[in-house]
C-alpha cells in the first residue's frame, strides 16, 4: 500500500504550476488579440454585444441627431442580417456577413448629448457603466466629440465620432481610442480653395464672420490660410457669439468694408440666420470692386440648406458626402446608391451626410473587430490604423495611423438654383481628390496633440 504524499502546500504549488502552464500560450502571444476576450472594459460575455449611440436628441441639432440615430439603427439591422444589407455588399472588406460582430448579435443603447459637453459625457458614461456599451459613436458638435473622446480614452472604450469638423478632434485633442471618419476644417478649406479660385478669381477681399468657439476658430484659420494662398486678402474677421440669432448688426459693417466676399464660418442655426440676414441686406446683389459680391459657407449640410430655403441658392460650400455622388460622379463612390436605397426605402427620404458618416463608422468598427478577432479596444485600434477601404460611398479611403483621421475625397457643393424636389437642395460642383486635402500630421494647425497609448480599460 502506497501512501499519498499530497499535502495542502503541495496542492497549491502544483495548482499554480499547472495554471501557469495553461496560461503560457496566452502570455507569450498576448499580441494575438483573438485569443484574449477579457482584460478590457465591458468585454462581452453573452451572445450579444452592445454599442452606444450618443446623439443630440434634444437641443438645436436634434434633427441631425435623429438622422444619425436612423443610420445607426439601419447599420445594426444590416450587421444582424436584417434588411437589404445596405453597404455590406459594396464594402471592400468582406468580414461582415450579417451574423453580428464576431458572431454576437448587435444590440444598442442611445443617449442624448443635448449638444452640451457635460451632458454628452454623462450620457456616454451611463451607456458605458450601466449598459455595458463597448463602443460609443455619434454626435453633432466638435466640443462634444472632444469631450466624449477624452472620456472614452479614460474608460478604455473605442470612440467612433459622428459629425465633428474642428481640426482639434484629430489635432491637438486626438486620442488613441478615438477615430474620425468625417472630414475637417482644413480639408474643407483645401478642397474649396481651387474651386473658389476658378469661380471668383484670385483677387478678392474677404470679410468673415466666425462663430466664437473651437470649431469656428479652426474653420476660420483654415479658410483664411487657404484663400490667402490664392492671393485673396482678409480684411477682417469678426467673432460672433454662439448664442446670436440676429446677425443684422454684424452685416451692416460688411457693406462699407471694401470686401467683395463674405465667408460665414457658422454652422446650424447660426449659419441659417447669418446667411438669411446677409441675403436680406442685399449682399448677393451688390457689386464691389467691379465684381459681384459673393458669400461662401465652408461647411454645408442638407439640414442647413433646408433651413435657409431659397437664400442658399448659388452659395458655395463643402460636404463630407452627398446622396447623389454615385449617380453624378460614377462608380468611384460605390456604396452611395446602396445606402440611399436602403435608407430611403426605410425612412422615405435620402440620408444626410451625418447619417452616412455614422453608418460608415458603425460598419468600420464592426469590421475592425472581426478582422482583429477581438473586442479588445487595443486590437480594434491596431486593425483600424492605416486601414485602407472602399465601397462606403466616399471612394478609396485611408484611416491614417498617425492621427486617426480618415482621408478621402471632399465634395464641393453649391445651393441649387431650381431644385427638382425638396431633397435636391445642392448641386455637386467638384469633388476634390483626397491627395489635395491630405496634410502632414504635424501640420501647425494640428500640432501639439499626442495620440498616446491605446487604453483597454479594466
Amino acid at each position: 500500500m502506497t501512501k499519498s504524499k499530497l499535502t495542502r502546500r503541495g496542492l497549491i504549488r502544483t495548482g499554480a504550476v499547472t495554471a501557469g502552464g495553461l496560461a503560457m500560450p496566452t502570455i507569450f502571444t498576448s499580441q494575438v488579440w483573438g485569443q484574449t476576450d477579457t482584460g478590457f472594459t465591458n468585454a462581452p460575455t453573452g451572445d450579444t454585444v452592445t454599442l452606444g449611440f450618443n446623439v443630440p436628441q434634444s437641443g438645436p441639432y436634434a434633427d441631425e441627431g435623429a438622422d444619425e440615430l436612423r443610420a445607426f439603427e439601419l447599420a445594426v439591422e444590416h450587421l444582424n442580417g436584417e434588411g437589404d444589407g445596405g453597404m455590406l455588399s459594396t464594402f471592400s472588406s468582406k468580414t461582415l456577413e450579417g451574423n453580428g460582430i464576431l458572431g454576437k448579435k448587435v444590440a444598442y443603447v442611445s443617449g442624448d448629448t443635448q449638444t452640451k459637453s457635460d451632458a454628452a459625457r454623462a450620457s456616454a458614461k451611463s451607456m458605458i457603466e450601466k449598459d455595458g456599451a463597448i463602443m460609443i459613436s455619434g454626435g453633432s458638435s466638435s466640443g462634444v466629440a472632444v469631450a466624449v473622446q477624452g472620456l472614452c480614452q479614460e474608460a478604455g472604450i473605442i470612440f467612433m465620432s459622428g459629425l465633428t469638423h474642428s481640426n482639434d478632434t484629430t489635432g491637438k485633442d486626438r486620442k488613441a481610442n478615438g477615430f474620425r471618419h468625417f472630414f475637417n476644417a482644413y480639408m474643407s478649406a483645401a478642397a474649396l480653395a481651387p474651386v473658389l479660385s476658378q469661380l471668383y478669381g484670385n483677387d478678392r477681399k474677404v470679410y468673415s464672420l466666425t462663430a466664437d468657439y473651437t470649431w469656428g476658430w479652426t474653420q476660420q484659420e483654415s479658410i483664411q490660410a487657404a484663400t490667402e494662398e490664392l492671393g485673396w486678402e482678409t480684411i477682417t474677421d469678426v467673432r460672433t457669439p454662439l448664442a446670436a440669432t440676429d446677425f443684422s448688426s454684424y452685416m451692416t459693417p460688411v457693406l462699407n468694408s471694401g470686401a467683395d466676399v463674405l465667408i460665414l464660418n457658422h454652422y446650424g442655426g447660426n449659419m441659417v440666420n447669418s446667411l438669411t440676414n446677409a441675403v436680406q441686406f442685399g449682399l448677393r446683389d451688390k457689386q464691389v470692386n467691379g465684381k459681384n459680391f459673393e458669400i461662401v459657407v465652408p461647411l454645408y449640410s442638407e439640414l442647413m440648406a433646408k433651413g435657409a430655403g431659397k437664400n442658399i441658392t448659388g452659395i458655395v460650400g463643402s460636404q463630407n458626402w452627398d446622396w447623389k455622388l454615385e449617380n453624378e460622379k460614377g462608380d468611384r463612390y460605390a456604396g452611395t446608391n446602396a445606402f440611399v436605397q436602403s435608407f430611403g426605402t426605410k425612412y422615405g427620404f435620402p440620408p444626410s451626410q451625418a447619417a452616412q458618416t455614422c453608418y460608415a463608422q458603425t460598419l468600420l468598427y464592426a469590421d475592425a473587430v472581426n478582422r482583429a478577432k477581438s473586442f479588445n479596444p487595443c486590437a480594434v485600434v491596431e486593425a483600424l490604423e492605416d486601414f485602407e477601404f472602399d465601397g462606403l460611398g466616399n471612394g478609396p479611403t485611408l484611416y491614417r495611423a498617425a492621427d486617426h483621421q480618415c482621408f478621402k475625397d471632399v465634395v464641393v457643393v453649391r445651393g441649387k438654383e431650381n431644385p427638382e424636389n425638396e431633397f435636391d437642395l445642392v448641386e455637386i460642383v467638384e469633388v476634390t481628390p483626397a491627395e489635395q486635402v491630405t496634410y502632414d500630421p504635424e501640420h501647425p494647425m494640428f500640432a501639439g496633440g499626442d495620440l498616446g497609448e491605446c487604453n483597454p480599460g479594466a
Binding site: 438645436p60 469678426v238 448688426s249 457693406l255 462699407n256 440676414n277 436680406q280 446683389d285 439640414l303 435657409a308
Partner: protein
C-alpha cells in the same frame, strides 16, 4: 456717419421685437401681478402660427400622372396645391406669397384663445403664490410648449419668407445723399418696425380711450377698490392676458421672415425681454417700450467692429451692463412706479 445711421436702424427693428414682447410681459405683470416666464413661448407660438398657415397653404395632393422618377427611381407624382385647385393659380399663388401677413388674421384669435386658456387653466391658480412659484411654473410651461412644437415641427429652422415685394432692401444712403449702397436696409425690417409702432399705439389707445381700458387701468392702480365697485376686474384681467398673448404672438408672426423660426426662438428673447422690463420699470408700459428700443440700439452699437476692438465681447454683455447701471442709479427702472415688487 453712415455706420452710425445703419446701427440705429438695426437697433430699431431689434428694439421693436424687444418692445413688443416686453409690453405684453409688463401688461401681465401690471394687471395680474404674475411674472410670466412663458411669454417668450407665446412669441414662439405666434411665429409657428405663421409656419402652420404656410404649411396649410402648401397642402397638396399628388397629380394623377407621373412626371418623372423620385430619388429612389420610383415613379414621381408632382404635388398639386389645394389652394391653387380651389382659388385658381393667381389667387392661390398670391395667398402662398402673402402667407405671413395673412397669418395675422388667424394668429389674433388663436393667440387670444391660448392666452385665455393659459390664464384660466394654470396661471390663475398661482396669483396668491410667491413670485418664485410663478416663475417656476411659467418657466416649466415654456419648456413644455417648446418641446411640443419641436415634436411636431422638428428642431431645424423653417424658412418662412416675406412676400416677394418686400424681399429686397432699400438704399437709404442714396436717398439721404450718401454714396449708393452704403446704407442698405431690408424692406421687411422697415415693415416690422412700422408694424410694432402700430401695435404699441393700438394697445396704448385701447387702454387710454376705451371704457374697458379705463377700468383695466383703474384695476392696475387699485384692484380691490375697483372690485368693491361691483366690477368683475378678474374677467377683464383675463382678457388682458389674452391681449398680451396676442401682442407677443403677432410680434412672432411678423418676425418669421427676419429669422427662420425654430422651437427655441422664444427662449432667445425671453431673458432679454425681462431685462427690458426691469430696465423700463416693472409694470410700466411706456417704460417697456422705451427700454426695448434703447437696449436694441445699444446692442447694435456694441456689435460695431470699432467698439468690439476696444472692448472685446462687449456685444454679449452690453444689455446687462446697462441694466446694472440703471438699477444702481434708478432702482425702480427708467419709468417704474413706487410700490411695485417692493413689498
Amino acid at each position: 456717419m453712415d455706420a452710425i445711421l445703419l446701427q440705429i436702424l438695426n437697433g430699431l427693428d431689434k428694439g421693436s421685437a424687444y418692445a413688443l414682447i416686453a409690453l405684453g410681459l409688463t401688461l401681465i405683470f401690471g394687471t395680474l401681478g404674475v411674472v410670466n416666464f412663458a411669454h417668450g413661448a407665446l412669441f414662439m407660438l405666434g411665429a409657428f402660427c405663421a409656419v402652420t398657415i404656410s404649411k396649410l397653404f402648401n397642402l397638396s395632393h399628388k397629380a394623377s400622372e407621373p412626371s418623372g422618377v423620385d430619388f429612389l427611381g420610383n415613379p414621381k407624382y408632382e404635388d398639386v396645391l389645394y389652394v391653387e385647385d380651389w382659388f385658381g393659380e393667381r389667387l392661390g399663388g398670391w395667398m402662398l406669397d402673402w402667407s405671413v401677413p395673412l397669418s395675422i388674421l388667424f394668429a389674433i384669435p388663436i393667440m387670444i384663445g391660448i392666452g385665455y386658456v393659459m390664464e384660466r387653466g394654470l396661471i390663475k391658480h398661482f396669483y396668491k403664490r410667491p413670485h418664485a412659484d410663478q416663475i417656476l411654473v411659467t418657466f416649466g410651461l415654456a419648456i413644455v410648449l417648446q418641446e411640443v412644437i419641436k415634436y411636431f415641427y422638428g428642431a431645424n429652422p423653417i424658412p418662412t419668407p416675406a412676400p416677394e415685394m418686400f424681399r429686397g432692401s432699400f438704399d437709404f444712403g442714396a436717398a439721404l445723399g450718401f454714396d449708393a449702397n452704403t446704407i442698405i436696409y431690408p424692406y421687411w425690417r422697415m415693415v416690422y418696425f412700422v408694424f410694432s409702432l402700430v401695435i404699441i399705439g393700438g394697445v396704448f389707445a385701447f387702454l387710454r380711450f376705451t371704457t374697458f381700458g379705463m377700468v383695466v387701468r383703474a384695476g392696475m392702480a387699485d384692484r380691490e377698490t375697483v372690485g368693491l365697485l361691483g366690477i368683475d376686474i378678474d374677467r377683464r384681467f383675463t382678457i388682458m392676458f389674452g391681449i398680451a398673448a396676442a401682442v407677443a404672438g403677432l410680434a412672432g408672426v411678423m418676425y418669421t421672415p427676419i429669422n427662420s423660426p425654430n422651437y427655441h426662438m422664444g427662449m432667445d428673447f425671453l431673458v432679454l425681454s425681462f431685462v427690458v422690463v426691469v430696465v423700463g420699470g416693472m409694470g410700466s408700459l411706456p417704460g417697456a417700450v422705451l427700454a426695448g428700443f434703447l437696449l436694441g440700439v445699444l446692442e447694435s452699437f456694441a456689435s460695431m467692429n470699432q467698439i468690439k476692438s476696444l472692448l472685446p465681447g462687449i456685444d454679449q454683455i452690453i444689455i446687462y451692463l446697462v441694466a446694472i447701471a440703471i438699477l444702481l442709479t434708478r432702482p425702480r427702472g427708467l419709468m417704474g412706479r413706487k410700490g411695485v415688487m417692493e413689498e
